[in-house]
């Protein structure tokens, strides 16, 4: 489902060349829950941006659900992002001028679903995160935890195969953080790949796999630098 092979990302300016990621290889199968950790500036966000097709990679191969993303133009990347990936951001990134219904509706409109289909998906997603009764509310009327649940509803409304979460509990208190993590675990249990970028060791400990990035180099904390095979595949091989 998710394969990165020797992926690198270099940011170039006139004066400086920064290697944000170096030869990162990672394979994640359906149903896995992966935590990506590392200090600030280590390359975690760059990894997330490349995994989420928000930035282009400089070198290597990245295949998402069998599609080599490097060959795609901007439109095709947008389409693939819309269909396959759900995002949960640290600062929620809800659109303040839209109510919850319209916020969850945003990716579905870009998907081209009809009105009835969109309504069904929005109601189902908000039901799943426990906010079905608040569709007409605006983000500013919700707590941080509730806003993050709306963001999760928006991420899952399109049934993505991959859910990328960037410090999803970073702006929440511990109680709300636990609720959000529980929600992400439920989604993972239903088959969605969850890759979560976090500073929090407690959150990372709840993931099946831990990938640590330092200076753009990724290391599987259980298996060393060569991060290629997922646990399930490795288990089968052995």
């Amino acid at each position: 489902m998710f394969q990165m092979q020797d992926v690198s990302k270099v940011f170039r300016t006139e004066m400086v060349e920064t290697h944000a990621l170096r030869d990162l290889s990672l394979e994640v199968k359906e149903g896995e829950f992966v935590a990506v950790t590392g200090p600030s500036g280590s390359g975690k966000t760059t990894f997330l941006n490349i995994a989420g097709l928000l930035e282009e990679l400089t070198g290597g191969v990245y295949k998402l659900d069998g599609v080599d993303v490097k060959a795609l133009d901007d439109n095709a990347r947008s389409k693939l992002r819309n269909e396959k990936i759900g995002f949960v951001f640290q600062s929620f990134n809800l659109i303040p001028d839209l109510n919850l219904f319209d916020n969850v509706d945003v990716p579905l409109r870009y998907r081209g679903f009809g009105r009835a289909e969109r309504r069904k998906r929005i109601e189902s997603a908000l039901e799943r995160v426990g906010l079905a009764s608040r569709v007409k509310h605006y983000p500013a009327e919700l707590s941080g935890g509730q806003q993050q649940r709306v963001a999760i509803a928006r991420a899952i409304a399109g049934d993505p195969k991959l859910l990328l979460a960037d410090e999803p509990t970073g702006n929440l208190d511990s109680q709300m953080a636990r609720e959000v993590m529980q929600l992400l675990e439920e989604l993972n249990a239903s088959g969605t790949i969850v890759i979560i970028v976090t500073h929090d060791p407690e959150i990372a400990a709840r993931a099946q796999r831990n990938v640590h990035i330092v200076d753009g180099v990724a290391t599987d904390l259980e298996r060393g630098p060569a991060l290629v095979k997922p646990k399930a595949a490795e288990a089968k091989a052995s």
């Binding site: 941006n49 097709l53 947008s78 992002r81 990134n93 303040p96 945003v106 870009y110 960037d166």
Partner: protein
């Protein structure tokens, strides 16, 4: 389409949205009326004169002191002018189309008619008006030479006018649906002349009696000297106008140097002079309209640019959620279209309000409904053009903005 979410967003930014809607509405109202007034002025300026404009030259002159021999000098002047190579004919005429000053008289089919059906411009000339002005005779005949009488004799009622030529519009007013030929009209004096001919059209010299009265004219076989109206009209070869004008002074001075020649003009110059205020007004209105449109466009650019800047992260989030560059561009274009449409709807109502005020205050015509779609189309197009730059800038915001920390 993101129609409803955009409306929802605009509701939450109603002050900025209302201001731009108001700006568009005011522009729509003013531009619709301005375009209407410009069109009105242009149509006034385009009105036909009925004369062979491209072949006419006008010489305006005045004598110094009273001249007992004015008619004789006039005859000599005309004879001298006709000797200039390229001059086909020349007349002395009391007034000219678009000349400004006019001679007018009520004209009726009954004597002493206080409710005369028409008031008409009254052309009189020494020489053949029909031939010199290139008028199109549509019925009857031109004057016979024995029908001409001097103006002084008519005024002193020692001689009467036997014949008159009228325009077809005047004829229709006097004898609707009938042939006017041979029928009497009461115009000057108690003896009615008979209509001997009908010309297609000769416009009146001015709009003093109202713009709708301009086709009502008549021609009387009354000779006028140069000091009565002070106009010589020359019908000339079109390609020799300047050459002829250059010789006029010498010819007239050769007859009698005690005159002041005020103007030597082509008919195009006569027309331009007459309509110079209309032209200035049309230019002023055009300038104001263009300025308003530019200001509105700048307003649209300013607001759209501000919103793009303010929504940078939101745009990144939309891109991250699957919006293509085209989706982002179209979002801003649709938003502008909605604002422009609101402005146009309010502006159309305002346009009629402004028009009613103009009708009451300045007596302009009712605004034709055709100017509303023209104004709407113009503002829609202007809005789309103005928003294109900010929209393209918005579409170039990368999706990775969504993951950047604020």
């Amino acid at each position: 389409m993101h129609f409803m979410p955009i409306l929802s967003t605009l509701r939450r930014h109603r002050t900025a949205a209302a201001l731009i809607v108001l700006e568009i509405a005011l522009t729509c109202a003013i531009v619709c009326n301005a375009v209407f007034l410009i069109r009105d002025r242009l149509s006034r300026m385009d009105r036909p004169s009925g004369v062979a404009e491209n072949e006419l030259l006008r010489v305006q002159l005045t004598g110094i002191g009273e001249r007992a021999d004015a008619q004789a000098i006039t005859e000599q002047d005309l004879a001298a002018l006709r000797t200039i190579p390229g001059v086909k004919s020349a007349i002395s005429i009391n007034m000219i189309p678009f000349g400004g000053s006019s001679w007018n008289s009520s004209i009726s089919t009954k004597p002493d008619d206080r409710d005369a059906p028409v008031n008409a411009g009254m052309y009189m000339a020494t020489g053949d008006i029909v031939e010199t002005l290139g008028l199109k005779l549509v019925a009857g005949r031109n004057f016979n030479s024995d029908e001409y009488v001097p103006f002084d004799d008519v005024q002193s009622e020692t001689k009467g006018i036997a014949a008159v030529i009228v325009t077809s519009a005047t004829a229709e007013k006097l004898y609707p649906g009938q042939s006017p030929l041979g029928k009497p009209v009461y115009v000057m004096g108690s003896t009615p002349p008979v209509i001997v001919g009908v010309v297609d059209h000769i416009v009146r010299p001015n709009d003093a009696n109202g713009i709708d009265q301009r086709p009502y004219s008549m021609i009387l076989p009354v000779t006028v000297p140069f000091n009565m109206g002070g106009n010589y009209l020359l019908r000339v070869a079109p390609d020799r106008k300047q050459e002829i004008l250059a010789q006029v002074d010498a010819k007239l001075d050769g007859v009698d140097p005690r005159r002041i020649i005020l103007e030597r003009q082509t008919f195009a110059q006569v027309r331009a002079k007459y309509f110079e205020q209309d032209q200035a007004m049309a230019r002023l209105l055009l300038g104001v309209s263009i300025a308003l449109l530019v200001i509105t466009a700048l307003g649209v650019v300013g607001l759209a640019s501000f919103w793009v800047q303010q929504r940078t992260r939101q745009i990144g989030v939309r891109r991250a959620l699957g919006a293509t560059k085209r989706d982002i561009r179209r979002y801003f274009q649709l938003e502008n279209f909605i604002l422009a449409t609101m402005g146009i709807i309010v502006g159309m109502a305002l346009a009629y309000g402004v028009n009613m005020w103009l009708m009451d205050t300045y007596g302009v015509d009712r605004l034709s409904a055709m100017y509303l779609p023209i104004g709407a189309g113009l503002l829609w197009a202007l809005g789309q053009i103005a928003v294109l730059g900010p929209a393209v800038r918005a579409s170039s915001i990368p999706p990775a903005v969504a993951t950047r920390s604020v």
